[in-house]
């Protein structure tokens, strides 16, 4: 390998090492700043609170002053959205059993405990469990059993006749028939393990309007968002209210269970008929910087929590009825929360969200500017490329992204589709100006230093272009791989020149090499006279100019 290729390989290797380390360092710096900003917001706006009393059947038409003050609160937890988005946490959530994306729905390391999972090779849902039996000698024992469920039924052994689930999602609530939606078969199923039966719902029309993604417990990053139901034990007239008439929580007490659609719509599934009842309830993202909020898809919010409200009206025979739903959502950057309460017909009856201007108030403004400064240290090419897929990023992708920046100001502005595309593009590019100023400064330094140490024009152009495109990592690479020479003064122009080059890179003059002229005297092999101790006269060597 010649020296040029050897050097190129070294530059590339150094560039990759510098890029990985700089990007990782910048990631943690952004993460630290994001945590500080999030926690500052957490203390500035502790929670979102919603009070309501109207949606309940027995209160309609009554004096609203007699309504009980029911309050729901939602708040982001400190540090949590950022931690929850880390790749390690996401890996655990997606791969570990019982995680939201796992095919293992119930599991224990102990082989004697229940285990429920989808076997992809069989295409069936397998339920391994234990039951207490009595042996022939009358002693109690534990027997293991396995059930295999397909779309056509349940059996004790895997059987082709049971059919195959293609892409199932399940309701994780353990205390009722297992509700399954198969995205391949586009219908709901209810698996009754005790009765060994499977009920099928009607096939959903394949017009793209129904794309369920979650059933029953509708939650995302539940460790990031805390929703609480607070009920006063007295109404406004001071009368005592029995507390057990309401239930707000992830599990509905009625025959209707919520189903989240990929569009963000929340439908209701009738668990008796397995029919999907279309609703007007939606996930709604809170307004934040460069985002006006509004209807959002599940991947557009960092966290959400849907809690069905069940009520048991007096005189209703103790039967729980569906009384609405509360929906809380956390913005992408984890700083704003929105909380909506829907009535049984899907109309919003109460709503509240974090106010927006916190970004520019005292303290918050400084942290926001620091975030912009850190983004400006990112390689400009990756910052620029963050513009194009900005609306495609999953909300928490920014918490584990090294190259593209889904939560940068540029990407936030890119998602804010208000004006014409060309206007939006240039409005987003405004956020690249600090990064461009920085890389131009670095490129100028590289060019000046390259000229000083004698890089050729082509080499300097390549380094300047590399610095403009890749920014800080390219500059560090240059500093690590530039020729390390100590310039000497050129005899012709007086400027510093590299001793390893034949010509001065400033004036082009060669080295002034002294011409070696042999002396006129010679040492001959005759012995010197013993009496003559004085040295023989020698002709002085002629100077090079002679």
């Amino acid at each position: 390998m010649n020296a040029r290729r050897h050097n190129l390989a070294n530059v590339l290797a150094t560039g990759v090492v510098a890029a990985v380390l700089v990007l990782t360092g910048l990631f943690w710096a952004r993460s630290l700043w994001g945590t500080l900003r999030h926690n500052w917001r957490f203390h500035a706006v502790p929670e979102v609170r919603v009070g309501w009393s109207s949606p309940f059947l027995w209160e309609r038409g009554n004096d609203p002053n007699l309504g009980a003050p029911y309050v729901l609160t939602a708040r982001p937890l400190p540090d949590a959205p950022l931690r929850a988005g880390l790749g390690l946490v996401q890996y655990v959530l997606s791969r570990m059993p019982m995680g939201p994306e796992s095919y293992v729905y119930r599991w224990s390391l102990h082989p004697d405990e229940d285990c429920l999972y989808y076997d992809r090779t069989l295409g069936q849902i397998v339920y391994n469990g234990t039951k207490k039996v009595t042996n022939l000698d009358g002693k109690p024992a534990i027997a293991h059993f396995s059930y295999y469920a397909g779309p056509e039924g349940v059996a004790l052994l895997p059987d082709e006749k049971l059919g195959r689930f293609i892409d199932p999602i399940v309701d994780r609530f353990p205390l009722r028939p297992l509700i399954v939606y198969d995205r391949g078969l586009t219908r709901f199923f209810a698996i009754d393990w005790t009765g060994q039966a499977v009920r099928k719902g009607p096939e959903l029309p394949q017009d793209g309007r129904h794309r369920p993604v979650q059933i029953g417990m509708l939650e995302k990053n539940q460790q990031s968002l805390q929703v609480m139901f607070v009920q006063s034990d007295k109404d406004r007239s001071g009368r005592h209210i029995p507390a057990s008439n309401f239930m707000v929580g992830p599990f509905p007490m009625t025959h209707r269970t919520p189903v989240l659609d990929a569009s963000g719509r929340i439908d209701l599934l009738d668990m008796d008929t397995l029919e999907l009842v279309r609703s007007e309830m939606h996930l709604r993202a809170p307004a934040s910087l460069y985002s006006r909020g509004g209807i959002a898809t599940p991947k557009e919010v960092a966290a959400y929590s849907v809690s069905p409200i069940s009520s048991r009206p007096p005189g209703g025979g103790g039967t729980w009825t569906y009384a609405g739903c509360s929906v809380a959502a956390l913005s992408r950057d984890g700083t704003s929360v929105r909380l909506d309460v829907f009535d049984p017909n899907g109309r919003v009856v109460a709503s509240n969200e974090t106010t927006v201007p916190q970004h520019v108030r005292t303290g918050g403004g400084g942290l926001t500017l620091a975030k912009l400064a850190l983004e400006s240290l990112h390689p400009p090419i990756f910052l620029f490329l963050s513009y194009f897929p900005a609306s495609q990023f999953e909300a928490t992708a920014g918490y584990r992204s090294l190259l593209l920046l889904p939560d940068s100001f540029l990407a936030m502005k890119a998602r804010d589709k208000e004006g014409r595309p060309i206007e939006e593009f240039f409005a987003s590019m405004v956020f690249m100006i600090p990064a461009l100023i920085l890389v131009l400064l670095l490129a100028w330094r590289v060019d000046r230093d390259g000229g000083r140490i004698g890089l050729s024009k082509n080499e300097r152009t390549a380094w300047v272009a590399g610095t403009v495109v890749f920014g800080l990592p390219a500059y560090i690479t240059y500093r690590l791989t530039r020729p390390k020479v100590t310039p000497v003064t050129c005899a012709n122009c007086g400027m510093g020149r590299r001793p390893d080059l034949e010509k001065c890179h400033h004036c082009g003059s060669p080295w002034v090499v002294p011409e070696l002229v042999p002396p006129a005297w010679r040492v001959i092999g005759e012995p010197e006279p013993a009496e003559d101790g004085s040295p023989s006269e020698a002709q002085p060597a002629s100077s090079p100019v002679q």
Binding site: H6, A9, N10, L12, A13, T14, G15, V16, V17, V20, L21, T24, G25, F27, W28, L86, G87, L88, V89, Q90, Y91, V92, R95, M96, P97, S102, Y103, V104, W107, L109, H110, P111, C115, Y117, D119, R120, T121, N128, R400, L402
Partner: protein, 208 residues
């Protein structure tokens, strides 16, 4: 080549064997956890996980010791006077490092697989997780070792310690950023190749 490898192991015997001791402790903790239950053995599991992370530091120290020792005692200039090239010296060094990483991780993997088969329900998700975590750990160990090689080629002790600590922290934190999936494996592979490229250039172009 074998002579060079043997010599490298003899010169850095402590650093090469320390990760194996850590590996043995991890295996002990895993076996203990299998018999007494995860909840009871949680302190032992946490300790062994921390020790496994410490073994990444051990790999880095091994790399740094190899290069720093060479630079300080001028081993490679001496060897270059014999019928050995610098490429071979570096290759022998890297092979020893990889061997140390594998010695520390493969027994842990084998034990994990055996114990899961013996004690846990036979589910599909184990396999992929075990393979992904194992491969990420091997690549991370190799990356840490490579950082040691890169930083160790110096005569400045302050840079040796601080640089090693800083780069190691950044490198290991990649696991936190990206988890254990294919993405981090690809990133680590590219990083390792680049560090080796840089080390090879520095080592082979150094003056005698």
């Amino acid at each position: 080549m074998l002579t060079l490898i043997r010599r490298e192991i003899q010169d850095n015997l402590v650093y090469a064997l320390a990760p194996c001791a850590v590996s043995a402790m991890c295996i002990g903790a895993m076996i203990y956890a299998s018999f007494v239950g995860v909840e009871v053995a949680m302190p032992a599991i946490i300790c062994s996980t921390l020790l496994l992370l410490a073994s990444f530091v051990g790999f880095s120290i091994l790399g740094a010791a190899q290069m720093y020792g060479d630079r300080a005692r001028r081993i490679s200039p001496l060897l270059s006077t014999l019928a050995v090239t610098r490429h071979r010296i570096l290759a022998a060094r890297v092979l020893v490092g990889i061997l140390a990483v594998l010695l520390a991780t493969v027994p842990v993997l084998a034990t994990a697989v055996i114990l899961l088969r013996m004690f846990a329900p036979p589910l599909e998700f184990y396999r992929r997780m075990v393979v992904e975590i194992f491969l990420t750990a091997v690549l991370m160990g190799t990356a840490c070792y490579s950082i040691g090689l890169l930083v160790g080629w110096t005569t400045n002790r302050a840079w040796l310690i601080l640089g090693n600590f800083l780069l190691l922290t950044l490198c290991v934190s990649l696991m936190g950023v990206k988890g254990f999936g294919p993405e981090v494996m690809l990133l680590l592979l590219v990083f390792i190749a680049a560090v080796w490229g840089r080390t090879w250039h520095k080592f082979t172009s150094a003056s005698l």
